[in-house]
Amino acid sequence: MDTLPAPFRLNPGLMIWTLVVFGILAVVLWKSLYPTILKATIDREARIKKDLDDAERLRAESAAALEEQRQLLASARGEATAIIAEARQAAERERSAAVEKTRQEQEDLLHRARREIEAERERAVADIRREAVDIAIAAAGKVVGARLDAAADRKIVEEYIGSIGTGARG
């Protein structure tokens, strides 16, 4: 070591002094400067970071809530549409049922009326026939006189009229 030129010689005493002085300085600064200045800074940084994180979290939360609200609204709207469609369908069904029922009733009424008319007509035809028989008998009685046996004659006339009736019909 002593063969080196003076500036390059290591001095163990000076090295130990450097170590000691630097060590003491590091400890002193560590205990005084850094707890105050750096800790305040680190705390402030931590607080800012926490605030930012909170803001981010809140933003995410509100976004999620908004999304949920939107979904809720969409589903409500869908539901309302479905209800309206269903109601419309039900009304349609109801209306067509009513129409069908009315038509059925009308038809029934028509049928009944037709049947009644038919019955009425048949009754009228029978009446007329009876009436015609009576009139014919009366007229024949008038023409032939009393010699005719009422019961036997009636049978003949009725048969005749009946043949007319069926003939007229057939």
């Binding site: 030129p5 003076a6 500036p7 390059f8 010689r9 290591l10 001095n11 163990p12 005493g13 000076l14 090295m15 130990i16 002094w17 450097t18 170590l19 002085v21 630097f22 003491i24 300085l25 590091a26 002193v28 600064l29 560590w30 005084s32 400067l33 850094y34 105050t36 200045i37 750096l38 305040a40 800074t41 680190i42």
Partner: protein, 291 residues
């Protein structure tokens, strides 16, 4: 001329058991009575401590005293910064004054230099690196003060600082990587076959170790050489006055020395900054474990 040549540069940049202080000579020329001269104060010499066969002389030398003063200045400026900080936090006022400037410097170094390099959760290394910066800075600046000496221009000082940094770097590696720290000493590639590993490991392990030791070595040499070279150049320029031995040319070396002095002022800050910056980078590298 050759006969009365005297090496006054080496004594100036090397350590001594004396301390320079301003004093006025008794008689001689008029300028010796008006301009302070350098007197030497003999520092006490302590008996060396014997550890086995090894004698350890720990008597304070000029550079030891400079280290004390640098440490003291660090503490004083820290206290000023602390006072300013406390006043500010107490009054809730805007920052002002020297102390707050120092606080701004501390925060700048922490946020822009140390933390980005050291990596995440690097707060634990900030105190050490800042101490390193301020200590080296004040030691550098003391070399520019009249009657002062550059302790950081002494290789013993820079080597000790580098060894401390080396220990901190290795400690950071162990703390961050756990058992993976061994990978920074023994080269053991994980993406190769076993025969390849066995073949390549003995070759690259010495390189790993040399690389590890080069970093603090470079730190020590860089600081030492920068501090010494400036002073050597300064003294060489001043010597030109005596070499030329004429009054006419005096302003020229003076102007050049003034320029170099300003450069030295810059270098004092730069080297303190670089020492700290590189230490941060090395700590960051080993914490990352880029193997």
């Amino acid at each position: 001329m050759i006969a009365d040549q005297k090496d006054f540069i080496t004594p100036h940049i090397t350590d001594a058991h004396t301390l320079d202080y301003p004093c006025f000579a008794q008689a001689a020329h008029w300028y010796q009575r008006t301009i302070p001269q350098a007197c030497e104060y003999e520092l006490p010499r302590w008996a060396p401590i014997h550890i086995g066969r090894f004698a350890l002389d720990i008597s304070p030398t000029r550079h030891v005293v400079m280290l004390w003063i640098a440490a003291l200045l660090c503490i004083v400026t820290t206290l000023l910064a602390l006072r300013a900080h406390n006043r500010r936090t107490r009054e809730g006022k805007a920052p002002s004054g020297f102390g707050n400037g120092l606080e701004a410097l501390v925060l700048y170094l922490r946020n822009e230099v140390v933390l980005p390099n050291v990596g995440p959760h690097g707060n634990g290394y900030v105190p050490f690196l800042l101490t390193l910066f301020f200590f080296i800075l004040f030691a550098n600046l003391l070399g520019l003060v009249p009657y002062g000496a550059t302790a950081t221009g002494n290789i013993s000082v820079t080597f000790t600082l580098a060894i401390i940094t080396f220990i901190v770097i290795e400690f950071a590696g162990m703390k961050a990587q756990g058992w993976g720290y061994i990978n920074t000493i023994v080269f053991w590639p994980h993406d190769m076959s076993l025969p390849m590993k066995i073949f390549i490991s003995p070759i690259l392990t010495p390189i790993e170790i040399i690389g590890k030791l080069t970093k603090p070595f470079a730190l020590a040499i860089r600081l030492f050489a920068n501090m010494v070279s400036g002073h050597v150049v300064l003294l060489a320029l001043i010597s030109l006055i005596f070499t030329f031995a004429t009054w006419i040319l005096v302003p020229v070396p003076i102007a050049m020395a003034l320029g170099i002095s300003l450069l030295e002022l810059f270098v004092a800050f730069l080297q303190a900054f670089i020492f700290m910056l590189l230490s941060s980078v090395f700590i960051g590298l080993i914490r990352e474990g880029a193997h």
